[in-house]
Structure formats: structure tokens, C-alpha cells
Amino acid sequence: MENILEIKNLSKKYNEFELKNVNLKVPKGMIMGLIGENGAGKTTTIKAILNLINIDNGEINIFGLDIKKYEKKIKEDIGVVLDDSFFSEYLNPTDINKIMKKIYKNWDERLYFRYLEDFKLPKNKISKEYSSGMKMKLKIAVALSHNPKLLILDEPTSGLDPVARSEILDIFQDFIQNGENSIFVSSHITSDLEHIADYITFINNGKIALSKTRDELLEKYGIVKCSKSEFEKIDKNDYVKFKINRYEYDILVEDKVGFKRKYDFKIIDKPTLDDIMLIYIKGEK
């Protein structure tokens, strides 16, 4: 399958933090979720993709083109939603339209106003008077209105209530309906991505810990819960990491069916992304 976004060996060193050898691929028509703790490197990765920071090493290709060489051309086809607010809050959506028309060659005014209607955003109200859910939907409407093929979003659902979050997930699934468009989205609200993301990439301490399809991660991986004496019987090669709790051991295994065949432990739970992250970050090997 064709990759819309491909990161090869990306490294970037700051004083206190380092992105180390990041590799990932987003195939056409798919949603990839980027998860990780605050400070794990999600935003730095997104900034590198958008060529907003100078990277020390590596290569980033979007639509098969190097972002450093073809930044302008590539950006005509990407929609971006970053965490920090982007327009003055004293502008209303109609004012924003006037500005965007000048920025993007392929700005589609009709599409933009249709999104405003679909998302129930009043055209002539300044965004300062919007709720946080409405503000985010406005940002997404703006990001979508020049017909991008790739949508890149940093934490679009943080701070929103469940209804607004669910509406935003609907927008994402609509966007990829044509099979051509792709989404790269970071979030620490992992439950949002758990169902709709096709691929999940987990970044931990500047390194990619896992990057797999949602089904591989959530249907194949398992969390074994057992006692200390049971844990001691397990071969080190048969688990990813383990975490010691007050009354039990939690063990992350890559193939719960295979594990069950070999050890016949009673409790092997289906993990959530939060479980996987927690054992990975806090656990040991």
C-alpha cells in the first residue's frame, strides 16, 4: 500500500529531551493515532513533520516528497490543527474566510461554509464566544476547507466533553470515506483512538515503543494477572514487560492466545491502550 507519510530515522536533540531514531509510515486512506505521555515527543514529531523545527537527522516524506525540499507544494495538500490557538479570538468565521482565501490557492469557500453549517458554527459570532468544542470544530473546518489529502492534528480532543469528542471522531471517519485521505492524530485520550484509528504508534521517551495496527495491538496483546510465584515460572522471552502491584503482577504479553496455550493462566485480559502504556512506562523487564 502507498504511504502518505513516511518518517525515516528522525532524530532531534534538545538540552533536556531527545527524539531518537523515529520511524513510522501512514498508508493511504488510514488513520494513525500517536499516543504517549505528555513530554514523550508527540508534538516535537508533529513539528518535525511540518518542517517547523530543524531536525538533526532523518528524512520525512509526505505524498512521496521530501518536506524540506517541497514544503510549499506539500502544504497545499495538508490540513493542520495544532494545540495553540491560531486566530485572534475577535475574528468571526466570516473574517477567517477572507484571510484563508488569500493564504491557500485551493481554498474552497463553499466547502468551508458547508462545514460551518454541518458543525453548527454561527458565521458571525466571534470565536471568543464559542465553547471549546466549537472552537476545535472551527479549527478543523478551517483545516479541511482547502481539500487536503492529509490531516495532521495535535491533541484535537483534549479538554472536550464526550459529545464534542464523539462529533470530532465522526468528522475524521467522514474525511477518510473516499479511501484517499489519511489522518495523523496525536492524543493522550487514548479511548478516542482505540476504536477508529487503524494504526497506533506509541512514543515513549522520544523513542517509538510500538507501532502496529489497532487489531494487532488490542486483540492480540494481553494483560496477564497472576501471583508472584506464578510469575516466576514465566520465561523472560514470553512477555514484553511486567509491573508489580500490591496484590498481583500485571504482565504485558504480545500474543495472549499463544501465552494461554503455553501457561494456562486463568486471567488474561484484553488490554486498553492505557493499560499498555502504563505497563510499558512504569513496568520493568
Partner: protein, 124 residues
Amino acid sequence: MDIIISNSSNIPLYEQVKEQIKNKIVSNELKAGEILPSIRNLAKDLRISVITTKNAYEELEKEGYVETIPGKGTYVANKNTELIKEEQLQKIEGLIDTAVSIARISGISKKEIQEMLDILYEEE
């Protein structure tokens, strides 16, 4: 068409989708030649990932329940009734096998099991 997904179930999502579509084909609720929703459409309606529905459709195709015509869509295949019956019989055999071993362990006679079957059939 109802497809009901449980997020707390231990059964993988793609398998839940696959089994429910399969049951509808076996029970003739979905008829041969009928078109199924597109992978992306179904994913959106069920709020699951595209890859999950794709996995479900691929498995259904492998088992001969559906056919995909590239560029057109996925259709319910002409049913191989023998094959489906064979599969159902195998499933029943497996369940009876479990029942028999439980009966053996606990000293329940064949006659008692047969009576139970009779009662269950009459109830319907």
C-alpha cells in the same frame, strides 16, 4: 441490518462483525447476490477502524460467504449449502462432545441426556 458490537467482550471486534454477518447469511436474512456496505461505510457506522472491518470481510471471503469484486463492492456469495451445513454440524458436534464429557464425569446417563434433548426440542 443490525450489527451489535460489544466493547467489553473478549471476542475481537473483527470477529464480532464477521460472525454477525455470517449468521445473517446462514439464516438467509442476507441473500445471495446482495451487496454489503462498503468497508469504509460500515467502519464509520459501527465506529470502528477501517482495518477492523477489512479484516472481517477478508475472513468472510476466505470462508466463502462473500465475494469482492474490485471497484464494485462486496456481495453475498452464492451459498454453498452443503458447506454451510457441514460447518454447522461440526459446531454442534463440538458442543455435544462437551456435553457428553460433562455427563461422563458426573455419571449422568445417555438416557437422561436424550430426555433432555427431547424436552428442549418440544419447548420450541
